[in-house]
Every structure is written in structure tokens, then in C-alpha cells.
Amino acid sequence: MSIKEIQEEIVDEFSMFEDWMQRYEYMIELGKSLPMIKEQYKTEDNIIKGCQSKVWVHAELEGDKLVFTADSDAIITKGIIAILIRAFSNQKPKDIIDADTSFIDEIGLKEHLSPTRANGLVSMIKQLKLYAVAYQTQLN
């Protein structure tokens, strides 16, 4: 599936929820199922700045696709990462760079999360895109 298709799928899923409680409960569930990053990658270098909770992201090329693994010490943050990884992992770096991120607004994440958390979210997206740019350069 393309990034856009996955994003539409996520937006569809979130539209079923009636209130924030269900939305949060779903995010917490997603957080619990997040593919864990290998311990060796939980380094200072892999920490994303701008989050109140700690977030580690690691990126690796598999063929021509970029695979992200990540973790956080906070469960709601993990849920957010899980959503981002679902949309952006296992995609070509070029597609990640070009991807639109307005689905975050559509699922009510940016609007419903605290400003500091929203900053963390923005930092996370920025970091994923930075990895994509780096690996794209490598592929060229």
C-alpha cells in the first residue's frame, strides 16, 4: 500500500471513535503493539528532541525501502509513533520525503494533544523525513 492509502485507512479507523476516550484507548493499544527497537539502538544519538517523554527512532534500508523501529518510555507517545511508523515505514525514502502529513490533523491528534506533545509529534515527523533524506542521498 502507498503511504496515502495507509493514511486513509488510519483516518477511517479513527472516524469510528465517538470520543477522546476511545481514541486514547486505541492509541494506548497501538502503543503496546509497537515493534520494539533493538536495545543497541536506544542510544542518546537516536533520541528525538522536543518530546517531554523519551523517543528513540532507528532507520535501516531493506532493499530500496526504509524501515523504522522506535520506542518511547511513555505509552501514549508510543501509540503516536506506532501510527507514524505504520504510515511511513517500509516505504521508499523518496515517497517518505514527498508524503503529506495532514492526516494527523484529520484523526484529531494534533488538535487533541497538548501543545508540547504536538511539538513532539512535529519533531517525530521531521526526524522520519530527515532519515529519508539521508538515505535517499545514499541511494543516489
Binding site: Y24, I28, Q52, S53, D73, A74, I75, H112, S114
Partner: protein, 391 residues
């Protein structure tokens, strides 16, 4: 403040960061801009005179509140951080290589950075009074750190992260025996404890108005007259000069020497109104009521399985810093916010304290005299709900 957050009535428990503003203080602000908004100390016209009078009356109220010996020992600042930087900057003139500054391990970042900068500039050495597990300073260590090399001791009256009340009287007396000056950060104490600067015999005491029912962007630095005379001015500009030529400038008398430029006139006046408001209720009544709230909230919160409160349970103001085993404070805070309960999460600008406990941060509920037991009940029920959701 009567409003809803996320559909729930707001329960505001972040008073240690900023207190809410009483109507009387808001009225004072409106009154200033509606009736006598003018620049002070300079104009001969009526409006300027009136504004000057009311601004100086506010200074007098602050003087009276903190029992300073002289009115010009009260310097208006933009807040606690400004006051600390003013003193730190001034002390650069007195320090030489090898001199020592002592700070406590319970400090806010703003209490650590200016001293590190000062030490870098002067070659002085920064020493830290360590803290014990119960969130108290280890006073034996403090006495060991003191020597004739100590030039300044710096400590908060009450810790912002834990609410611990520090034994500042003992700290001040011991420092003075070594000839060192003492600066106390009263930001967290001022909403709960009426400090008497003469009785404490403290050299400098700083507070922010926004934590004690006043507006943001204004605070006070108390300094003993002899110290304020010795300290060089912090900023150059209007108000702080007596005579200016290109060859030489003579500085104005206290307090104007430290109040360069047009001050936060309205803020100063509103600060005075806030003190009037709090004194009308009375600090004894405030302390007693807050203590009841604190005891009730502590008891109810500790009944939650896995909940741990950091810091001493006795010598403290109405602040509860806690975590729940296995849960991240940020997750708890996020859910509480969704339920309309405003608390602070994170390291509370006191990273060294969090490192000490080896935790990423805490959830901090801080109470004021206008909070109620019903609000404590909502907090406790919300924490329980967050725990269920997150576990």
C-alpha cells in the same frame, strides 16, 4: 476562573507554576489603564504624578509585606529569574579565582545556570549542598562546604519540584559566620509563607508576582541597603542615572539604580493589589487551609495502589509530586488534562532532582487557598481513571 476544559469543569492544580488572578487584581489592572496610564517619575502632569504615587505605594505594600527596613530596598524586577541574574551579575565584581559559591541540590534550573555563568566568568567554584532521599538538604554537608572562601550561598526557600521547606534560617546564620552573603529564592514560598526579611537577616530575597495572585512579568528583589549600594547596576538606561555626560555618568539613588527604563508600572501596581488581597485573607488562614487540603489529598492519593509521593511529607507546602509504578508521568498528565484537571508533568526545571530519584519526571499537583476538597476528589478520581486506562 470558571471555564470548561475538554467538556469538563476546570480543576486548576498548577498553582506552583502560576496562580489564578483574583477579580480585585484584574480590576486594579483595568483601573490603571482606564484612569492613570502614564509614565512615572518624570512627568510634571497630574496623570504622571498619580501613576507615580500608586506605583510607589505598591512598593511600600511590598516593603511592609516582607518587612523590609527601607522602601528603597525593594527593587521591582520582571520576576524571580531577573532578580537572581541581577545579583549574580553584580557579584562578578566581587569574586576572584578560587572563591566559592554554594547552591542547593533542590534548585530550579534558573537557580543553577546564572551561577555557572558567573563561575565561568570569574573562576569561582560552584559547590552543591546534596539532598537526601526524603527530599531534604543534608545540612551536615552544608556546614562542611562552608569556609572563608565561600562568598555567596544560594538556596530556595521552598523547592518547586517537591514543595520541601528548606531550613533557611540555619543556612543564613551559618553563611554569615563565614562572611558570605545569602540570596534566597522565595518564588515558591511567597504564596504560602510570609517571609520577614529582617528577622531572617537575609541579604537578598526574590519573588515573582504571578505565583501569588499577581500578574506575570513582575517580581521583586529585596536587598539589604549596604549590598544594593555595593552592587553595580545591571542594565543601563533611563531612570537609573543621576547625571549623564559623555565622560561620566553618575547612577541614581536606590531603588532607581536597578530599574533602568520604563518599568512594568501596571504590573507593579497589580502586584500591590495582589498582596492586599492575600493579606486580607491572611497568611495564617491560608497556611492552615492549604495544610488541610494537602493532608486530605495526600491521604486520598496514597490510597491508590502503586502511587509514590516524592519528598518529605511534613515540612512542605501544598505540593504533591508523585508517580504511579509502571506508568510515565506524561501519560498520566495527558489523561488528566483530557479530564479537565490541570497538573504539571515533567522534570519541573529541576533535572538534578529527577536524576537523583532516577525518574524521568513526576506529576505535580500544587494547591492554592482557592482549591477545594471537591477538587481534590476530582483529582483522585481522575488519577484512578488514568491508571485504569493506562495499565
Amino acid at each position: 476562573m470558571n471555564r470548561k476544559v475538554n467538556g469538563y469543569p476546570l480543576v486548576y492544580l498548577d498553582n506552583a507554576a502560576t496562580s489564578q488572578t483574583p477579580q480585585k487584581v484584574i480590576d486594579a489592572i483595568v483601573d490603571y489603564y482606564s484612569r492613570y496610564n502614564a509614565n512615572i517619575h518624570r512627568g510634571v502632569h497630574t496623570l504622571s504624578q498619580e501613576a507615580t504615587d500608586i506605583y510607589e505605594q505598591a512598593r511600600q505594600k511590598i516593603q511592609k509585606h516582607f518587612n523590609a527596613a527601607k522602601r528603597h530596598e525593594i527593587i521591582f524586577t520582571s520576576g524571580t529569574t531577573h532578580g537572581i541574574n541581577l545579583v549574580a551579575n553584580g557579584f562578578a565584581a566581587f569574586l576572584k579565582k578560587g572563591d566559592e559559591i554554594i547552591v542547593s541540590a533542590l534548585e530550579h534550573h534558573s537557580n543553577i545556570v546564572p551561577w555557572q555563568m558567573l563561575c565561568e566568568r570569574t573562576g569561582a567554584v560552584l559547590k552543591v549542598i546534596p539532598m537526601g532521599l526524603e527530599g531534604k538538604l543534608i545540612m551536615e554537608e552544608y556546614h562542611k562546604l562552608l569556609s572563608h572562601r565561600t562568598k555567596l550561598v544560594f538556596c530556595n526557600h521552598v523547592s518547586n519540584a517537591l514543595g520541601t521547606v528548606n531550613p533557611i534560617q540555619e543556612i543564613i546564620e551559618a553563611a554569615h559566620k563565614m562572611g558570605a552573603a545569602v540570596l534566597i529564592d522565595g518564588a515558591q514560598a511567597a504564596p504560602h509563607i510570609k517571609a520577614d526579611v529582617q528577622k531572617l537577616d537575609v541579604d537578598f530575597y526574590v519573588v515573582s508576582a504571578h505565583k501569588m495572585c499577581g500578574p506575570t512579568g513582575v517580581g521583586m528583589l529585596y536587598g539589604k541597603e549596604e549590598w544594593l549600594n555595593k552592587l553595580p547596576p545591571y542594565q543601563g538606561g533611563g531612570e537609573m542615572i543621576a547625571e549623564v555626560s559623555f565622560e561620566k555618568t553618575t547612577y541614581a539613588e536606590l531603588p532607581h539604580k536597578f530599574e533602568a527604563g520604563t518599568p512594568n508600572i501596571c504590573g507593579g501596581i497589580a502586584f500591590g493589589a495582589a498582596l492586599d488581597y492575600m493579606n486580607a485573607i491572611g497568611f495564617e488562614a491560608i497556611a492552615q487551609y492549604e495544610h488541610e487540603l494537602l493532608e486530605y489529598a495526600t491521604k486520598e492519593l496514597l490510597a491508590i495502589d502503586g502511587l509514590k509521593i516524592y519528598g518529605d511529607l511534613k515540612e512542605k507546602t501544598a505540593v504533591i509530586s508523585f508517580n504511579i509504578e509502571g506508568l510515565h508521568p506524561y501519560d498520566i498528565g495527558s489523561i488528566l488534562d483530557k479530564l479537565g484537571v490541570a497538573v504539571r508533568t515533567g522534570h519541573h526545571c529541576a533535572q538534578p532532582i529527577m536524576d537523583f530519584y532516577k525518574i524521568p519526571g513526576t506529576v505535580r499537583a500544587s494547591f492554592s487557598f482557592y482549591n477545594t476538597k471537591e477538587e481534590v476528589d476530582i483529582l483522585v478520581a481522575s488519577v484512578r481513571r488514568a491508571k485504569t486506562m493506562l495499565s
